[in-house]
Amino acid sequence: MASTHADAEPLRIAGRELNSRLLLGTGGFPSLDLLADSIRASGSELVTVALRRIELPDAQVGASGGASTNSGSRGALVDVLDAEGVEVLPNTAGCFTARDAVITAKLAREAFQTDWIKLEVIGDEDTLLPDAPELLKAAEQLVDDGFVVLPYTTDDPVLARRLVDIGCAAVMPLGAPIGSGMGIRNPYNIALIRESVQVPVVLDAGIGTASEAALAMELGCDAVMVASAVSRAQDPVAMAAAMRSAVVAGLLARGAGRIARKTYATPSTPVAGTPDFS
């Protein structure tokens, strides 16, 4: 019942409708089978993939054309995503400059035949936090080149609005460093971002467990992206299901209009009519 209700309000990004409010990263799963099962359990319709070098065959490259394992593994990932019927959102993970990110986005467009790009431009190896000026530069170039840009960004509301002013289709502020499982370190800023921009806000990075995903939605996010929280959980499929319920719960709760916080108690049982046994 709950999910029916929530499904009735699809998320719209750049004209695409998504019934699920959960984006799933494909990294970190112990096997493609667990990835497939987790996608199904999550209900996600949009999953991220990266571009990396193919493995070169050991033999000499050239006329001989030796056999390779590329068809197997590469095909496998794309095939799994096809089989699950999900859309692919390529990322630019690992890029430290606007230039690398732009090239990677263009390669992704060729590889996956999609204009959508999750734009990551990293500024620090230890925290994998975004680099604001390079991110703005790359976003500008990619928007100009016709991409639908979803930037992974800090929780800075001013930066988020600048990205939207440039033409980004959504913003993906982080809750905490990628893979840290530290949750949403600054809920206050996430709420400010929600007030600052008119495009969808997708909480990205930092989520470690279901309550944090629900909180993201309650703060006003339109969707939540999870990767390590699911893929590296002891039971990825169960965590995928947990996240699915959590974003539904958070979205419903936000829409329901929660009670105000108060310092003191308010009886849920009326005082009037209390008997006197003295």
Binding site: R52, L56, Q60, G65
Partner: protein
Amino acid sequence: MIVLNGEQREHGAGETVAGLVESLGLPAPARGVAVAIDGEVVPRAAWETHAIPAGASVEVLTAMQGG
């Protein structure tokens, strides 16, 4: 010689991107694959005709599980 994904490789004169990709065990349409030469993307439509120049730095990339 070319540099393919960071490694020195021999290089047949006149070899096209399409040829290289196929030689790597990625038969057409090679979905999920993309190629850059010297930092520039080679569109799929040009794979058949784009000859790889000697000394080029070639990146052949493919889909990978990722964040």
